[in-house]
Symmetry: C2
Subunit: 170 residues, 2 copies
Amino acid sequence: MSASNHSSASPAATPQPIYLDDLKVGDQFKSGEHAMDEAQITTFAAQFDPQPFHLDDTAARGTLFGGLAASGWHTAAITMRLQVTSGLPIAGGIVGAGGELTWPRPTRATDVLHVVSEVTAIAPSKSKPDRGMVTVRSETRNQHGDVLQVATVRIVVPRRPDAASLAPTA
Amino acid sequence: MSASNHSSASPAATPQPIYLDDLKVGDQFKSGEHAMDEAQITTFAAQFDPQPFHLDDTAARGTLFGGLAASGWHTAAITMRLQVTSGLPIAGGIVGAGGELTWPRPTRATDVLHVVSEVTAIAPSKSKPDRGMVTVRSETRNQHGDVLQVATVRIVVPRRPDAASLAPTA
């Protein structure tokens, strides 16, 4: 599971950058993996979320988390890394306009993360014919299949240059 | 602007940890500041969002961003740091259950960020009398007042121990 797995019906699109015209609602993608460890969790927390339950396992035992847990923003950042490097080969990169996040379970030091994504909406721009907005729902899961984060993010995706010029103008 | 500024009508709550019972819809908080720079932007991006517009100013000029821009997840992570260290002195820490994010403008290397937050909803738990869910809408702004991120996050907040024991049981 080291490469992306675009399960669209158009397998030829897999290794190339994907344009708006290549996507269909229901298309699924699977990222590579990222192994967490305690040092990553505490390093991120010290910089961005310095709270006891993200910094020290002993201190975390007496909290809601019951043990060391990654910051949710760390899980979000690793999810982005997995999407950029292997999950979503969008032409021109992944430019998010915003989205929704939930963290059903904490990410632990022993977790190995991967991301499974599905296209849930595609909206060509009315004012800018060279692009559109794609909504992607992504689950960040550990090696046991537990869902650690659900993100629904709106991404700006360019149209294939030739497709835009060939599109009906009416 | 180095300290939090709880503009509730109960100023005595400012320096102490804040419990559910201390909060009212409309309460506002203001964080300290965080100065961005190019090194922070590119270091975060190399680790979590390795795309040209987050890694190199020259490469970014030809993109939608028109110049080096921080990853939105970097803005989110700095926002969390500001909330934890100066913005929201919630008793027991800031434990988010999820939320919504938008990034109206990119964060630039010259930006100095702060966060202005407002309590928009308070819901005591029906099943767990020692806590509740508080919804906080936070704007991450730069030194010009431009809004770079709007986050609406649901936070688990404990009730004041004595308040919980004194609460009506009917």
